[in-house]
C-alpha cells in the first residue's frame, strides 16, 4: 500500500512546478498551463485524502466539480488570450499593460 504522504509529496511538487510556471512564464498560454498543473495537484490531493478517509466519495465529488470548473476556466481564458492577441499582436503578459496607471 502506497502511503498517503507519497501522493501528497507528488502533489506538492506538481503544485510548486505550477507556481514556477505561473510566476516566470511570460507567454499567457504557458501561464495557463501553470494554472492547470496547480489544479491537477489540488485534485490529486482531494482524491488521495478521500481514499484514506472514511467517506471516499465526497472527495471524488469535489474533484469532479473542480474538473468541470477547470474546463470552463480554460475555455474563457483562451478566448480572452485570443482577443488580446488580436488587439495587441502578442500574448506576452508583460506587453498587455494598457491598464497600467
Amino acid at each position: 500500500m502506497i502511503p498517503l504522504n507519497a501522493y501528497l509529496i507528488v502533489s506538492a511538487i506538481l503544485f510548486s512546478l505550477g507556481v514556477v510556471s505561473l510566476l516566470t512564464r511570460r507567454n499567457a498560454v504557458a501561464v495557463l498551463m501553470g494554472v492547470e498543473l496547480m489544479l491537477n495537484a489540488a485534485n490529486l490531493n482531494f482524491v488521495a485524502f478521500a481514499r484514506f478517509s472514511t467517506t471516499p466519495i465526497d472527495g471524488q465529488m469535489f474533484a469532479i466539480f473542480s474538473i468541470v470548473m477547470a474546463a470552463a476556466e480554460v475555455a474563457v481564458a483562451l478566448a480572452l488570450v485570443l482577443n488580446i492577441y488580436r488587439h495587441i499582436g502578442t500574448i506576452d503578459v508583460d506587453e498587455a499593460d494598457t491598464l497600467r496607471g
Binding site: 500500500m1 498517503l4 507528488v10 516566470t24 498560454v29 504557458a30 491537477n40 474563457v76 483562451l78
Partner: protein, 184 residues
Amino acid sequence: MTAEHVAFAILAVLTIGGGISVAFSARVIYAAFSLLFTFIGVAGMYVLLAADFLAVAQVIIYVGGILVLILFGVMLTQRIYDVRLKAQRIQPVVGGIAAAAVLALLVIVIFGTEWNAVVPGDPEPTTEVLGHGFMKEFVFPFEFASIVLLIALVGAALIARRNDNGDGSSERKKANRETGGRLT
C-alpha cells in the same frame, strides 16, 4: 516492492517529469505537449487511488478537451518555431525562490501533521455511488455546474468571436446587410 510501488514510481516520474517540462521548456509548444504526460500520470494515480470514474473523466476532459484547447491556443497565437519565451529579467530568480518556499512549506506541513488516515479498504467501483450522489445529495451543485458550464462556454464563444464592426451589435450588422453596406 510490489507491482503497486512500481506503478506508482513510474506514474510519479511521468507526472513530475511532465510538470518540469511544462515549467522549464523553452518552447511553449513543447510545454503544451508535455502537459499530456502530467495529465496521463495523474489519471494513473487516480486508478491507484481506486477512483476509476475520475480517472476516465480526467483522460476524457483534460486530454481530450483542455489539452486540445490549449494546443489550439498555442497554435493560433504565435508562429510556432520562432518563439522562445524565457523570462529574461529577475523573474526566474524571484519565481524560483517563491516556488521553493511553497514547496518547503508544503513538505513541512505534510510531514508535520497527523493526518488520521484510515487504512483504505479494497477498491470498489465508484461509478454507481457517484451517480447516486449526483442525483441525490449533490443535485443542486450538479445542476449549478451545468449552468456555469453553459454560460462559460457561450461567453467564451462570444468573447473569441471576431468582431468586425467594432461594437458588434447584431442590429447594426443586420441593417448593414439589408442596405448592402459593407461591414467595416
